[in-house]
Each structure stands twice: as C-alpha cells, then as structure tokens.
C-alpha cells in the first residue's frame, strides 16, 4: 500500500513548497528573528510583577500567525484541487506512473 504523496503534479509541488514555506517562515524564520531581537523571546508581551508591559515583540504575532494560516489555506486549496481533479482516468494513469517509476 503506497501513500498518495506520490501523486503529485507541478501545482501540488508548488503548493507543498509555498504552503509549508509560509508556515516555516511564520514559525521558524521569524521566530529566530524575534529571539535574536531580544526580550521578549516569545511572541507575547513581557510584563513585570505589577503586570505592566515592559517589552513587546518586535514582530506582531498576528503577522506570524497570519503566515501560518495562509500556509494552511494553500495546503487546503491543494487538497481541494486534488479532490476535484481525481477521476477514474487520472487515478489509473497515476497508478500506472507509480508502477513504472
């Protein structure tokens, strides 16, 4: 039994790279930038014991979250594309391709 990750065309691969790329930028790349920019190292404001905000993130967390959500939307769109694209004919063709690879 094989995984369907073999059944990829150019659009699938573009969606895979763009979707996961946006998520990686939002979480990892901008996370590294945020960390190197100093406190707060997380993505929430830093408060003192009195509850006063003493430092805010350099990058608005909404931007980072937005990039991740956008990545999810790209992956979802690709899933829908695969769903719509699938026909008995394409299914047979993809299976034949997988066998010959």
């Amino acid at each position: 039994m094989t995984l369907d990750i073999n059944d990829m065309d150019l659009l699938d691969r573009a969606a895979m790279l763009v979707g996961t790329g946006l998520m990686a930028v939002g979480v990892v790349v901008l996370g590294l930038v945020e960390t190197l920019a100093g406190e707060p190292y997380g993505a929430a404001p830093l408060t003192n014991e009195a509850g006063e905000v003493v430092a805010t993130p350099m990058i608005d967390p909404n931007i980072r979250v937005g990039l991740v959500v956008l990545g999810l939307v790209v992956l979802a769109a690709d899933g829908l594309y695969k769903l719509v694209r699938a026909t008995p004919e394409t299914d047979e063709a993809e299976n034949a391709t997988a066998v010959t690879q």
């Binding site: 073999n6 979480v27 991740v68 769903l83």
Partner: protein
C-alpha cells in the same frame, strides 16, 4: 518485522510504510488523537446537549487576531450552527479518527478546529509553537500520511468497487 522501502522519484525519495512499528504507531496516534476530540465533543454533548453557548462567545472574543473579523462575524451570525456544531463535529471527528473512517475528512475538520483554538487562545508566551499548534500539526500529519489505512476501516473501504469508481473519495478517506 518492520520494513520500509524508498521509491526514487524526480523530486527525491518517498517513504512507504510497509509494516511493523511505523504502521502500528500511526494507528495508535490516530486512536489517541481521535479520543482527544471524541472526549471533548461527547462531554460537551453530555453537559450542554446541542446548546454549547460558549462556542459563539469564544468566537466573538477573537478580536484583533490574524483571522480578522471572520471569527467575530461567525460568532455573531452563525450561533445557530455553532452551538450544536461544535460538540457534534468534535464527536464525529473523534469517532472518525478512532475507527479510521473518512480519516482525511476528519483531519481536515480537526485542522479547522485547531486553527481557531490556536489563533483564539493566542497563548504565545513561550513562542508560537504551543500545544494547540502541535494538535493542529498532528491532524495535518495523520491526514497527509492517510493514517486511516493503518489499522483503520478506510483500508477496507478504499478497496470497495464504489471507491474505485469514485477516486475522489480517496482524498476524504485514507
């Protein structure tokens, strides 16, 4: 005995799960994640029935998030669907995952829920990667790996003639 094979493609190598620990672990992971959502939804049904009023309240409180006005609009205008929908769909997602039926569809639903939880809870004090994002990634992983094919009923459903003649279903099953 666990075996794995690699298939060389023009985009690298794809890993195939042929047996043993990898398949077993995917099935186990699917069971636990399914229980997580089933428990969450079923206990809401037990406590509040089809009137889970906190659902719309939660969405209305999602102001100033990356999702913009969408969740607030949903909370204000779709309460009639959200109040019964949250417990029912959480329960169905959980059941689907535990039984391995319509696994990818269930995972898509789980990703939708977890996105709202992750963005809405916004507990980013230790960074963007928190338990909610991990839950979201679990659903994505189970869906991408078609975890319902391992110790799940989708393995049998996908072999039926009906699915063979309707291959779109493979992207909802699996």
């Amino acid at each position: 005995m666990a075996t794995q094979t690699k298939q060389v493609t023009d985009f690298g190598t794809d890993l195939h799960l042929d047996g043993g620990w990898q398949q077993y672990w995917l099935g186990f992971l699917r069971l636990v994640v399914g229980w997580w959502f089933f428990h969450s939804g079923f206990t809401k049904l037990l406590a509040d029935g089809l009137s889970y009023t906190y659902g719309p309240v939660y969405l209305k409180g999602m102001t100033g998030t990356a999702l913009g006005p969408i969740p607030v609009w949903m909370g204000e205008n779709l309460a009639w669907a959200i109040e019964p929908g949250v417990p029912v769909f959480e329960t169905l997602i959980g059941l689907g995952l535990m039984a391995g039926v319509l696994t990818r569809l269930a995972c898509a639903g789980g990703v939708f829920f977890m996105t709202l939880f992750w963005v809405g809870n916004a507990d980013f004090g230790h960074g963007l990667v928190n338990g909610d994002l991990m839950g979201l990634l679990l659903f994505l992983t189970l869906g991408i790996l078609a975890a319902g094919r391992y110790y799940g009923l989708d393995a049998y459903i996908e072999k039926t003639e009906f699915v063979r003649t309707h291959p779109r279903l493979r992207y909802l099953l699996g």
